[in-house]
């Protein structure tokens, strides 16, 4: 992998320069949170961001969008005028989530509403130091080798930039004046030191080994009922989760016409309607069953199908759930560890 350097003070100039490839989106502070936003002013980007309130998925399949407009027997899709975008600031966990989403939306067949947006999206990753809610070391998503066009590691006075694609390569060659090709031995040393420091900064102690077996053995556990009684069914954990892709499709018709939009909007397995089928039968009538599905899918079923869990340790569910039902509490309870209930 090609690597180059960028002096810290040149980051704004670099981001301005890469804007010739598309709209720049990055984490911007808004009140108490950081939000992934389109920004022309590169100084607005908050490099201290640990996690944005919604992940990148809002750009690749928005919370609610029109798939196509139909009129009689004809339809026109909404995919013609999608902008080119650069998402700056994705951390390794989110890049792993992006790879999971890419797989999910292309494995059986291409979902054009995702892939057309994805094709026009460039990823510039950015290094991070974990906070107390991060557990990507446990999900083994704390480093990345693919899934980005460029990846910047913050080494105090300069950024080490890994080039992950030919598009990323083009980006570095777009601004030759500020990109430094000469990586020195001491730069490498600095990088190794930084890695060691970062690895030492994980605060959350959580063990995700053997989770599929533990889920198998916990199918009838009382934990599901207990947590189900607490769950508010608000769906927030699924909305903020970077690997939750579920959606609902409906038609929005025009008054008095055979014309309208086919809409897609985010759905959640924690909503009762999600598992309701014809005649009102519901596969997962109770909150406990729905909660069990969510966690079993993330940490067991997904492993069987994709070879890895669908949790990347970003900590968003920990930050979001008002009643503290998240991957960490569930895993700890299932492992029989002490958790405040």
């Amino acid at each position: 992998m090609r690597a180059v350097k960028l002096r810290k003070q040149d980051l704004p100039a670099f981001l301005k320069c890469v804007q010739s490839f598309g709209e720049l989106w990055g984490p911007v502070r808004e009140k108490d949170r950081q939000v992934l936003k389109k920004t022309d002013d590169v100084n607005q980007i908050d490099l201290t961001t640990i996690r944005t309130s919604l992940p990148f998925k809002k750009l690749l399949f928005p919370p609610r969008f029109s798939m196509f407009h139909f009129s009689g027997n004809k339809y026109t899709t909404s995919l013609e005028h999608l902008p080119n975008r650069i998402i700056f600031g994705l951390h390794p966990c989110d890049i792993h989530a992006l790879l999971i989403m890419d797989d999910f939306f292309t494995r059986s067949f291409d979902d054009p509403y995702y892939t057309e947006r994805r094709k026009k999206t460039a990823i510039i990753g950015f290094s991070c130091i974990p906070d107390e809610k991060c557990f990507c070391h446990a999900t083994k998503t704390d480093t990345v080798e693919e899934g980005f066009d460029l990846f910047l590691t913050d080494l105090d006075d300069f950024f080490l930039i890994w080039v992950g694609s030919s598009l990323g390569d083009d980006m570095t060659r777009e601004c030759p004046k500020i990109i430094d090709e000469g990586i020195l031995p001491e730069d490498l040393k600095k990088y190794v030191e930084w890695r060691k420091y970062r690895n030492s900064q994980f605060k959350m102690d959580i063990d995700l080994t053997s989770m599929p077996e533990i889920f198998d053995l916990s199918y009838d556990s009382v934990i599901w009922e207990e947590e189900g009684e607490k769950c508010l069914s608000c769906g927030a954990c699924t909305i903020v989760c970077p690997t939750c892709p579920c959606y609902h499709v409906y038609d929005k018709i025009e008054m008095g016409k055979i014309e309208g939009e086919r809409m897609r909007q985010w759905d959640s397995c924690l909503f009762k309607e999600y598992s309701m089928v014809a005649e009102g039968h519901n596969f997962r009538e109770s909150r406990a069953e729905r909660l069990k599905l969510r966690f079993t899918h993330k940490l067991q079923a997904f492993v069987g199908e994709y070879g890895k869990p669908a949790c990347v340790g970003c900590g968003r569910c920990i930050e979001t759930c008002p009643v503290d039902i998240d991957i960490a509490t569930i895993v700890r309870r299932l492992r029989g560890e002490e958790v405040k209930v």
Binding site: L54, K230, C234, G235, G256, Q265, F271, K272
Partner: protein, 260 residues
Amino acid sequence: MLENQKKDVGLYGFTGCNGDQLTIIHSEDKLLDFWQSVHIKSFSLAKSDNDDSDLDIALVEGSISNQEQAEHMKEIRKRSKKLIAIGNCACYGGVQAMELGSKGWDQRFRKVYGDAFFELRTPIESKPIDVFVDVDFYIPGCPINADQFFYCFAHLIQDHVPTIPDHPVCAECRWRENDCLLLKGILCLGPLTASGCNAVCPSHNLPCLGCWGPVEEANVSSEFNLLKEKGLTQEEIKRRFRMHNGSGIIKPLKKILGVL
């Protein structure tokens, strides 16, 4: 749509602020389609030549708060193939049904009106319309959301059953990436309340008051416990729960508190 395929529609308002009918009238970009896609037989807030003919669809706003309204409501039901409740008052009773389910309406009424004699109307405790008649579909809101209303209306006039996702306000609130007020210890009813408003209050840093009425899966007891943990008193929580939730909150609240 062909003239003879158009549905006959009537709009009626009982006790309420007329906010739902006004929401329709204020939707200038939709009004031409609205008037052209159906025959509006009665809409006294918007036109004068109203009649009491048979209807395909009756849209009813407001709660029932006197016996004459109850009779009128039953009469509308008799001549309407479909009856749609629009707005919080028609669906759940509105703020005037805040105390619904607790006893003592007579005393409360006397406290306000004394021994006043009501010549033209016989007041009763305010209740949602489904206490008196069968309702085919509910479009909640205080007032209704124009987009959601016209979405439902477009389906109803083509004999489709519209689907309103049974999501709480939190869903739309997370979509808009607002700060979670509950996490800050503010009495927000987002998790209990049906969405459709685009989380308008939390998006302006104001807590959800529950004006869309309860979402089907509302976990009232968990929210109650959570708010108590955050330091709110039982009385504060109860008052907020009852403010807009009228008939929708009676059962779960009784379950938690024993009495209302």
